[in-house]
Structures are given as structure tokens and as C-alpha cells.
Amino acid sequence: MKRVTRVLLGAVAMVGLVVGVAQADPQKAEVFHWWTSGGEAAAVQEFAKAFNAAGGEWVDTAIGGSGSTARPIGINRIIGGDPPAAMQFNTGKQIDELVAQGLIRNLDDIAEKEGWKAALPPAFYEAVTRDGHVIAVPVNNHGQNWVWYNKAVLEKAGIAEPTTWDEFFAAGDKLKAAGIIPVAVGGQPWQLNLMLNAILLSEGGKDLYLKVYKDLDPEAVKSPEFKKVAEIFGKLRDYSDPGNPNRDWNVATGMVISGKAGFQFMGDWAKGEFVLANQVAGKDFGCILGPGQKNFIMGGDVFIFPKLKDEAGTKAQDLLATVMMSKDAQVAFNAKKGSVPVRLDVDNSALDACAKIGVEVLQDPDKQIPAADILASADVVQSLTDVVAEYWANPSMTADAFIEKWNTAVDQAK
């Protein structure tokens, strides 16, 4: 029997009527994702290899971009009745609507069988659970609050790795005196936002961070602690160069690699650039979680599994979910991706020096901090990036004005 699902009032879409050729073979699964660049593709290849070895057949559909290109395409395929077997998604509130519309599968059985709850950091498990049901598979854990630095440059200027913000700015002054740009900033809103969040966590601490993003508490934003964060962020303008607006993050990383700049705030994917330039973690370049309090902001991606009409396709989904979460595939995938495995119970001996620092910090559940996207809606988080970018680009804006704009934006978007 054909089940016509009323996806939207006023428009009827037939979910599952059009079953793609992809599901014709019993273990075939079309996987939709936005990992297209060399290193990313190499990581996806690890998943595909593992899936194929387990008796599946990986059908790859990749649409590059930041996800805002691919996501609407995938969503429209789900609505249009031609869903892929698995689709990459941002961890966060955006999944809620798909769950509410009954468009994606719940994975309780597999999660139970494979013991996901015990293996995952609690915040991640929570992030893929809705009303007690597991609805997605987390695949990678990207640390977002790293500070990278050029070891040779710091050594030459006689600077030790800063552990407080005062030390950081002192180091910046020394670098300036040596004719080096202290901080390589990519002045794109999302990059600036990462930088602000790193400061928020290292200076303001976990509680403030959670109040600001999880509770969206206006009082926390008005607190003197948050103001201090805003001032440190504002002060960094004087430690960057005038060419920062709209600079790609990897161009900024290039400045650190070539010694034009000393530090960069960026997620752990920046490691890929250092590695491409034949630099070694802990030897040529260093990494700090902080300065200040050491916490680990966990971002990452999940895969959702749209409901399929045919049994074979559903079976292939089961296999795929199991494979993606398996220990071997997790280690192999994340080693290539530059992230750390989502499972905490895997062998991390093969990781590089920086990832080891990250894994060590992650052992303490208190230091596992979910990224802002996991805590608040995309609308809130990205409307805030507008405010952060505006503040950064306008040195005459006071921290108080910034705080007020912040609260207005949250109020409008939540």
C-alpha cells in the first residue's frame, strides 16, 4: 500500500514512492555528504572501505561547501521522495524538525546493541538523542578552540607557550616588536566566532559558556566576566593585520607556517595545512587549548538515516550505522580527517602530538564542551556571528554596545 505522507500542509509529497535505483541491491547504500577536498575525501574513503568490506556497497554523493549548500539539496531530496540512505548533517537543533516530521529513522536497536551510550562523550550522546531515541550517528569530534603557533618564531623571539591571557598579550607585544604579526586572523564571521568562543571558554570558563549558549541567558552576557571576554576579543584587533577581512582560514594558517605571523585561533582541521607543508606537530608547530582554562569544544558531524520504503535499503542502513561507529573505522576515518574519534574507548596511540593533548583533556567529562551549534539553533548561532563580525570590524564599537547587540540578536532569533 502506498502511504501518502502529508509532509506539509498545502503541498503533498510522496515519501518513498520513488525508490532510487541505489536501493536495488540488498546492501547498497547511497551516502550523501559534503566532504570533497583531498584530505576529507581520503577520510570518507576509509568509511567506504570498511562498509564495502562488511558486505555493503557504498554509493557516494558529495556536494562540496560548508553544508549550507548541500543540506537544502539533501532535504529537498528527502521531501521530494528520493532520499539517500544516509545523509551528513550538522549536530544540533536542525535535526529536530526532521524528527518531528517523522522523516528519519530511529536507531535505538543498533545503539543498544553496540553500546553507544557507554562509548560516547555524554554531550555527544545527548546531541543525537531526541525524546530518548537515538536518531543519528556521530562520526567525528573536531576540537574548535585550538591556538596554533609557529615554534621557531616564538623561540626566536624568546617566548614560551603562553598559559594566561596576560602572557599571551605580552608575547604578542614581543612579536610586534620583532616585526611579526602576532595573530593571523581570517576575518570571516565564522572564524571570528570560533575565536570568540575560544576566548569565552578559556577566560570565562565552562559555566559562563553554557549559560551564554545553552541557556541563552541575557544576564550572563551582561556579566563583567563576559565583558572581559569581549574586551580581550576587541584587543586582538591590534594584534592582527589590516589584511584580515574575508581572509580564508588556510591563508591565515599559511601566514603562521611561513613565519609571517605567530599565532592562529582555529579548529583542528588547520593541522592539515601544516602537514601539507611538511610540518610536524609538536616539532615545527605547537598547539594550545586555551590559554587559560583547558577545555575542549567538541564540534562534529553526524549522519542521519531517512526512512526508506524497502527492507533491503533499511538493512543496508543498519550495516552502515554499525560500521561508522565501529572502533576500527572510527580510528581510520578520524586519523585522515584530522579530528579525534567520537568513541572514547579506542586506541589513540597513532595520533599526533596535538591530538594526544586533545584526547587527554577529553578523558575528563567536565572538560567536554559541546560546540555552540549543538547547544543553540542555527538561527541564533549565526545571527550572533553577524554581531561578532560587526564588533570586530568596528573598533569604535564598545564592549557594552556589543553586549547589547548580542542580547537583541538572541532575543530575535530564539
Partner: protein, 296 residues
Amino acid sequence: MKPRRRKNVASYVALIPAFIIVVFAYLGTMLWTVQISFTDSKLLPSMNFIGIRQYERLFATSRWIISLENMVIFGIGLILVCLVLGFLMAAALDQKIRFENTFRTIFLYPYAMSFIVTGLAWQWILNPTLGVQQYVRNLGWTNFQFDWIVQNDRAIYVVIIAGVWQASGLVMALMLSGLRGIDQELWKAAQIDGIPAWRVYLNIVVPMMRPTIITSVVLLSLAVVRVYDLVIALTGGGPGISSEVPAKFILDYLFGRSNIGLATAASSVLLVIVLVIITPWLYYEYFRPERAKGGK
């Protein structure tokens, strides 16, 4: 001519595809857009009506206001510069120039290029630490300054420069063909009367090319309202939010920020603005009952 003679069932049949497209795709989408703009749609369109809340938020958002202002600046700048430059290039090419084909191709090629990457080349050229400014400084003029792309109040003008680069070739081609349609006799007569060439251009040629200019303006206006790639590639809307534009606002909320309600509200506002601007022109060009069919 009696209108009756030109009425024909076949003419209605021929318009069936256009009629279907207009009703379902265009009219349908416009109505859908307006309707959704009164709902709280987020990731997926919903029919949960919330009145004019999206519009209230829209006009309380400084980024939207800045976007509208920038569209006006960009629109005026792009259309004026493209018309003037396009006309000058066309007039220059129309002087029995050597290598006319080469020049024309050079002026036209940017129109064929995807701007996502071409824009990156522009971004580098305009970047003060990578591009022209640094280059000239290295040549010895250490005070040379050209850093509009990183200045809040200048960044939108940089977008105009790149927009002109992309679109003026097309305008040039249109203008050139307009010039080619002008009677040779005109020039002979002007020469005999001793009228300087620039006066002929200004007083006779430009008025004669009114239809070409209108076609160019329509094409450019479409580019203005839809401008997106240029801004993404050049400034990303920055520094800060100083070079944001409406199409980018709409796309960000439609896709990245999953707020379809706000995005459709913004689209509806844009539609109303366009309607207000083009209605008088449409009426003047196509609706005047007395306008004789078949040219004027």
C-alpha cells in the same frame, strides 16, 4: 489595423507553455513566498501563521537595513558605471580600430567565468597585504594606499568595481551593436556641418540608442537585485556586515540559518520594492493603450 484580424485561436495555443509557467512557477512561487512569510517556518516550510512577526524582526535587524542601503549604492554605481564605460568602450571600438575582435573578446570574457574563483583573484588583488597596494609599495611608493576592501564604508564600492568588470562587457556589446545600427550618413552630414564628434554622440546618438539603454538597464537591474557571488567571493559581506546585500541575507536565512519564514519575508519585501520601481516603467513601455504596435 483592426485588432480583430490579429486575434487567433492559435495565438492562445502558442501561449499555453508560457501561461502554465507563469501561473505555476512564477505566480505560484510568488504567492507561496508571501504566504510562508507570515509563518514561523524554520528548516521546513510550515503553515503555522504568526502574523507580521517576521517583518518586525526583519526591519529590526541592522543587517537587513544595511543590505538594502548597499543594494541602492551598488545598483546606482553599477548601472551608471557600466552604462558609461560600456558606451565609451563601444564608441572607442567603433572608430575603425585595429584588433577590434581582440579587444571585444577581452572586454566580454568575464561574463563567461564563474565568479566563485574569479572573485578570489579579485580578493587577492584588492587585499592590502597581498595585492596592488603592497605591489606599488614595493616599487617604492611606500605611502600608496588602496585598501577599500577592508574599510567598512568603502567595501561596497569594491564590489561595484568587480561588478563592472563582470558586466560592462555585455553592455559594451549591446551598445556597440546599437552604434552599428546608426546610419553612416549621420556622420557625413555632421562632418560637413563641422559639428564635433562628441556633440553628435551626446545630442544625437545617445537619444537614438534609448531602447538599447533600456535593455541594458533591465539586464543590470536583474544583476543588482540578485547580486550574491560577487559579495561572497570579495568581501563575504564584510568587514563585519558592512557590505551585506539582500540576496545574501535571503540565502543565509533560507539555507544556512534555517529560517525560511524570515527569508521569504525578505524576498517579499524585495518583490514589493521591485514592483514599485518597475511598474511605472512597465506601464510606460508596454501598457499605454495608444502605443502603436511595431515600434514607434
